[in-house]
Structures are given as C-alpha cells and as structure tokens.
C-alpha cells in the first residue's frame, strides 16, 4: 500500500525548500523483542510518529484447518491446544462444544463444573501473563511478568496434575473430560484460588497507580465503540471499548447461568490501552468469584458422558463458541457422514482483534505501536493457525 490512503489522516510530510525529507521505513519483526512471536509490522515513521503501519503475518501458518479435515474428529483435539498455546483448555472446550452439538451428547454435571473451573483458571493464566507482557512492552524489566509467571506456575501445576501436561493439556473430550481430577486436586485448586487475590492486590499496587504506566497507556491506541463493533472485535478488547458483550452471559453455554459474576466494561468514550489493561485486571477478580462458586458447587459423578466409540456424525453444520480469554473463539464444523469433518474452520479472536491494529496505531509514536500490539493480546499460533 503506497497510495495516499496508506498515510495517516491529516498527515502532511513537511517539505521545505532545499531540504529533502522522506519517511523512515522500519520493518519491525519478525525478529523483534516485542512482537509476541513471529509477527512483522512494516512501519513508516516520520521521526518517531507512525504514519503508516502494515501488519504482516503468516510466518507461523501450520495448515491447521486443512489438517483437521484429513483427521478424525478426536485427532484434531490436541491440535487445538496449539492454536492459542496459552489457553489450551478453552480451545479444547470450544471444539468439544461444537462437536457435542454435532452428535448431541450430554455432558455430565461434574464434567461441566470441571470445565468451568479449568476455563476460569485459564483466564487467570492468560490475563495475568498478558498484563505482565504488556508492562514488559512498556519497558519494565520483566518484573511484573515474572511475578505473573510465578503465579501462573501454580495454576500450571494444577493443570499438570489434572491432565498430565502444563500447557498442551488436551484434557477435554466429546461428552466430558478425559479423566477425572486426582484425589485432593480440588483442595489444591481451592488453595490456589484463595491465594490468588493476595497476589492480585500486590499486582495492582505495583501497576495500577504507577504514574508512568498511566501516562503511557491513557489516550494511546483508542478504539471507538463503532469501529470495535464493525470490525468484529470480541473479548476484553470489545468491553474496553464500551460494549457489554460476554458470551458467557449471552450464550450461557455449559453451566454459566448458575454462577453469580459481573462483566466489567467501560462507558466507551476512550477505549485506550489503559482500559484494555484494566478490564483484564478486573476480569480476573470475577473469574475468582466464579471459581469459588464452582469449587463449592461441584459434586461427584462421572466425567465422561456416553460418547460414541466411533465418532461418525450425521451430515450437519454447527458452530460452537466460547468466551476464550482473548475473545470469541468459535469452531465451525461441517460433517458429511464420514469420521472426518468436511470443513473445519476456526474463528480466532487474536486474528480478528488484530485487524484494527493499523487504525489504532496511526499518528501514535513508535513506542506506542508496540504497546498497542501488546494490549490487543495476540498469540501468533492462533493468528496464523
């Protein structure tokens, strides 16, 4: 894009007599410390100001959707872990939800409770490390990130005890969960959940009033309510732009209608990096509320419903979606009566949230472009698939 539209609105390159000026084109990435993976931004700079930005991605394309079309339904489950590798549990859930719609399996109650617990723990993991990465992009020397990872480790231990793996959990199955949690797991989970608010208090004390963070993030990367809606933004980013939209509340999938929790959102007149950061901080508190209720309400029972041994759905089309920590994660499946899906499509929140990057970055400083990218919360495994 080199047309006039590529340049930021109201931008004019100053040309003086006898002086030749040109824009500085910088290719940020794919080997750049703050692009969160193999992502590239072609940035045109006037001094330090971004006048044009072109996101380039696809470096991590792994043919996920086509692979899934040549594989049994169950075989794709471990691959969904690798989409958004921070939140394998919610990825599993979205896929399981879609497949369960295909064959209409009932999920046992205990499995549903465990699913909610796993998903909300995942949300804690994601938000707490996202905030860490975000502050890292702001230039802190990794201190908040390492605090976040210290806490994340405790939750990953829980995941490992339940599923055998820390990140690539592959824990959900059509009709429930692969196995029940081991003995004493719920007590350990309760312990972790009870201690998390203590850490959050400290985290908020470290970050939320820091003048440098406030002045760096407020008024930076504003995303208007209208643009957010029309671009299909979902998740905390949409709520930071002032739209009260949470699929846990809208769809009430699984057993989310049983829990008391609130959805933080803004009144939508700013929608900047600070809002996106704060909405995530506040969401963690609500996740803890859900977790406490779920851990109290969980009962005994089987964790796997009577799923068919051979998964061979009748021809149908389904769309299953969950509120992943990053936004609406959906799986669209077309079954044609064979054990393999005819079409398998992922609606990745990271990719769709990334589409407004340019609109948010134009006219900002180059340092802001980095934190705007950080505040979107992308995982390249999900963007490129």
């Amino acid at each position: 894009m080199s047309s006039a539209t590529a340049i930021a609105p109201n931008y004019e390159l100053i040309q003086q007599d006898g002086l030749e000026t040109s824009l500085l084109e910088v290719s940020m990435g794919p080997h750049h410390p703050s692009t969160h993976g193999v992502f590239r931004m072609d940035v045109k700079l006037d001094g330090e100001t971004v006048v044009d930005l072109q996101p380039v991605f696809g470096y991590l394309h792994r043919n996920h959707e086509k692979l899934a079309e040549n594989m049994s339904y169950l075989g794709s489950m471990p691959f969904t872990d690798r989409l958004d590798y921070f939140n394998s549990m919610t990825n599993n859930w979205a896929y399981a939800l879609a497949a369960e719609k295909l064959v209409e399996i009932e999920v046992p109650e205990r499995a549903d409770y465990l699913r909610v617990i796993m998903a909300e723990l995942t949300r804690l993991v994601n938000h707490v490390s996202l905030v860490g990465f975000f502050i890292n992009d702001l230039g802190a020397l990794g201190t908040p990130l390492l605090y976040a990872f210290r806490e994340r480790e405790k939750i990953l231990d829980l995941f490992e005890q339940a599923s055998g793996a820390r990140m690539m959990c592959n824990y959900f199955r059509f009709g429930g969960l692969r196995n029940d949690v081991p003995e004493g797991w719920l007590d350990r989970a309760r312990d972790v959940v009870d201690h998390f608010p203590v850490f959050l208090d400290e985290y908020e004390q470290l970050l939320c009033e820091n003048e440098i963070i406030l002045s760096r993030t407020q008024g930076v990367g504003c995303l208007s309510r209208d643009l957010a809606i029309s671009a299909g933004i979902t998740g905390p980013m949409l709520r930071a732009s002032g739209v009260n939209y949470d699929i846990r509340k809208v769809d009430k999938y699984s057993i989310y209608d049983r829990f008391q929790f609130r959805v933080p959102y803004t009144d939508g007149n700013v929608g900047d990096c600070y809002d996106r950061f704060m909405v995530r901080m506040l969401e963690m508190r609500e996740s803890i509320r859900i977790l406490k209720q779920a851990l109290d309400g969980i009962g005994d029972g089987p964790v796997l419903g009577n799923a068919p041994k051979v998964f061979k759905p009748k021809p149908a089309e389904v769309y299953g979606r969950v509120e992943a920590p990053k936004g609406e994660l959906g799986f669209y499946l077309i079954a044609d009566g064979t054990p393999k899906p005819y079409r398998y499509r992922v609606r990745p929140p990271s990719l769709i949230n990334l589409t407004v990057l340019r609109d948010m970055c134009l006219g900002q400083k180059v340092a802001d472009a980095v934190i705007i990218l950080g505040s979107i919360d992308i995982v390249l495994g999900e963007v490129d698939r």
Binding site: L24, E25, V26, H32, P33, S34, L45, G47, E48, I135, N136, D137, L138, G139, A140, L141, G142, T143, L146, Y147, R150, L206, C208, E209, N210, E211, I212, I213, L214, S215, R216, Q218, G219, N244, D246, K249, R262, V263, P264, Y265, T266, D267, Y274, D275, M278, V279, L282, K365, V366, A367, D368, V370
Partner: protein
C-alpha cells in the same frame, strides 16, 4: 615535563583505571543479582572460582560471572555490518569510554596515595572542576550518536536521535541543580565543595539541597540512560538502540562506558550533595573517607537498580516534556528559593541566625528551631505545590478510572 610530574600523573590516574573497571565488574554482578531477587529469581550463581576444577562447587554466589562475561566478550566475533561506516563504528565505543573515564579524575576521593603528589595534577582541585565535569560528560552524546549513525541500522539511528535529544535536554536540569551547591559554597572546586560538607553538613540536609538532589538524581538517570529513561536502548521498541549492531568487545566497551558514567555521575552527586567522603569516623581514620565515598556511590547505584526493577519506560515526548516542562522550571524555582533564603540568612535578617557562623551548621543545629523548621516547610511546600501544578498542567487527564459492571 619532569620525571616527578609523570610519576605524579601516573599515581593519580592509574589506580582509577584499575579500581573503577573492577567495581564495574562487581556492579554488573550486583545488578543482576539484585534484579533477580526483585523478580524472585536467584540470579547468577553458577560460575565459581575460575580455572579450577572446583569452579562449580565453590560458586561464591556467582561472583565469577563478570569474569566469565568478560572472557566471553573478548572472544566473541567482532561483527561490522557491511554498509556500516567502519571507522566511526570502531571509534564510537572508544569515544564512549574515554570521557567516562576522564571525569573520574574530578571526583574528590582521598585515596591515601594521592596525598603525596603535587596539587597541580589533582583534577578535582581545579578551580572549574564541576564545569569541566559537565563539559566532558557532554562528549558522551557524540559517541552515542556516532554509534547510531555509523551502524547504518534504522533502530540504531532512532536510538542515536533519541539519545541526543535526551542527553542535551537533561544536561540543563542537571547543571542547574548543581548550581545550588555552587551558590552555597561559592566555588566550583570539587575538593572545596566536599570539604565544605565535612561532618554532617551535607547539602542534602538543606531544603533546597534536598530538592536539588532529587532533580539531580532524576536527570542523572536520564544522562546515563538508566531506566525509566533508557529510551536510547529501549529493548521493547528499538531492539538495543544505538548498540544494536555492536557485538563482542566493542559492545563490552559501551557497556563499560555506561557503567563508568554511572559511577562518575553518582560520584558527582555524592560530592555535591552527600558530603563527599564525610561520614562517621573519618576524623579519626582518614582512609575511611574513601570507603564512605564508595559506599555512597553504591547506595545511589542500588537505588538506580531498584528503579530499574520497578519502573517501565517513558515515551519520547513525555521524556522531553518532563525535562523542559517539569524539571527545568522546578530547578529554576529552586535556585530562586535558595538564592532568596541564602540572601536573607547571610544578611542576618532572620532572627536567631548568626551571619558569622556557617549557615549550614545553623540550619542543622539551628539557633532557632522555628526558623529552621519554617525554612524547611516553606521551601519544600513551595516546591511541592509548584511541582504539583506543573504536573497538573502537563498531564491533567491522566488518572485512574472507574469501571462499570454488568450483572
């Protein structure tokens, strides 16, 4: 040049060239260790006594790490980008190190061996020592931009441009806060400034001295590219800034230069505000003053490390705004306050203060506690109100927000 003069020059300079690079090695270890602990890590703890088979067993908290780093740096390949300006690419790290090393001579540290040499080779006895200090430190800017330009890398160029803007801007509050001390002592001679603070008469214990010290320290952070003002080498934005294209020993020279500059500017802060070598026990044991001087330097460096472990970085426009719209007016106001107070005190117009006695001692031990307290409260209140006002002017919209919840 007589043989004696040459000997004196060597005695005055060679120990500095040995002591401070050693301290630099120790500081890198200290910084990594402290940052690690701040971040709940262990930090370097593997490298032990080098060249022994017990290296791992007696790791001494990883104190061998700087030496291992140094050896690694020496043996690393020296990569020069194809299109780089080879001469200036080579010169830049050298030019970064030399001024930093030079200004060490202006620190009035009473090493035992310099008592016997003639005064003319003691740089800190120079009548314009403080001015010289700032003049030579300014050279650093040149080296940084030279590195940024010669590397032929856009990130380096951005880093170099940022460095120039930053260093030139922060030089002004830095010098203006040093002016307070010069006003109080009436001399630019570093040794005289340090002597004036003998005992507990440190200038930081005066209201304007305290304010000047804070401004000086903030500006010093920016001068030495330390967090939160490490924009020229902002990792998350421009990779490593001006030394993106440097590797091996050239990078080590930059690194060394940066830390030596940290020592130098902390040493100046100690000289100007923290009483130089003054401290308990110095009267009885004169060599203690060296220890006190170094302890104070390390105290300041510890604060720098602490800040680095806590704070994110400012943005480039905020950085400039902070220098010009906040620090500069404040330091001018501070000079005004200090000037009026000193004038009133010197004229003896404030009751209870004796104009013949040293003003500082009176402020410390104050003939009239009310006057002393009034001075402290008045001066700091004016400065705080002014700072608050400036803050409100520059970033009025920035504050924590309230959020809505949907049930």
């Amino acid at each position: 040049m007589s043989l004696e003069l040459i000997r004196d020059i060597l005695v005055a300079t060679v120990p500095l060239l040995l002591i401070f690079p050693t301290l630099f090695a120790f500081t890198t270890w200290l910084e990594r260790k402290a940052l690690a602990r701040i971040q709940n890590r262990i930090g370097p703890n593997k490298v032990g006594v080098p060249l022994t088979r017990y290296g791992g067993r007696f790791s001494l908290f990883g104190l061998g790490q700087p030496m291992a780093d140094g050896i690694k740096m020496l043996f690393k390949e020296n990569i020069v980008p194809r299109d780089a300006d080879r001469l200036f690419h080579l010169l830049a790290p050298i030019l970064a190190l030399i001024p930093a090393m030079l200004v060490l001579c202006f620190l009035p540290i009473d090493f035992p061996w310099i008592n016997n040499i003639q005064d003319s080779v003691k740089a800190f006895m120079l009548d314009g020592a403080v001015i010289f200090f700032f003049a030579i430190t300014g050279l650093n800017t040149l080296a940084v931009f030279m590195a940024g330009w010669a590397s032929r890398n856009k990130y380096s160029l951005l880093g170099g441009m940022r460095a120039i803007a930053q260093m030139v801007s922060y030089e002004i509050p830095l010098v203006l806060s040093a002016v307070i001390v010069v006003m109080m002592v009436g001399s630019l001679n570093a040794a005289e400034i340090a002597n004036a603070q003998a005992g507990w008469n440190w200038f930081i214990f005066t209201p304007w001295g305290l304010a000047a010290f804070i401004i000086f320290f903030i500006a010093a952070l920016a001068e030495t590219n330390r967090s939160p003002f490490d924009l020229p080498e902002a990792e998350s934005e421009i990779i490593a800034g001006y030394f993106t294209e440097y590797s091996g020993f050239k990078f080590a020279l930059f690194f060394l230069g940066e830390y030596i500059a940290m020592f130098a500017i902390s040493g100046l802060a100690v000289t100007l505000f923290l009483g130089g070598g003054a401290g308990p026990g110095v009267a009885a044991l004169p060599w203690l003053s060296v220890i006190w001087f170094l302890v104070k330097i390390f105290a300041l460096i510890a604060v720098m490390i602490w800040l680095r472990g806590t704070l994110p970085r400012l943005r480039v426009d905020q950085l400039m705004g902070f220098a010009w719209k906040f620090l500069l007016p404040l330091s001018i106001l501070n000079i005004f306050i200090a000037g009026s107070a000193l004038h009133l005190l010197a004229g003896g117009r404030l009751a209870g203060l004796d104009e013949k006695q040293p003003i500082l001692r009176q402020l410390m031990e104050g003939a009239n506690p009310l006057v002393v307290a009034g001075l402290w409260i008045g001066a700091l209140l004016i400065l705080y109100v002014a700072a608050n006002g400036l803050n409100q002017l520059s970033r009025a919209k920035v504050r924590p927000r309230e959020y809505k919840y949907a049930e």
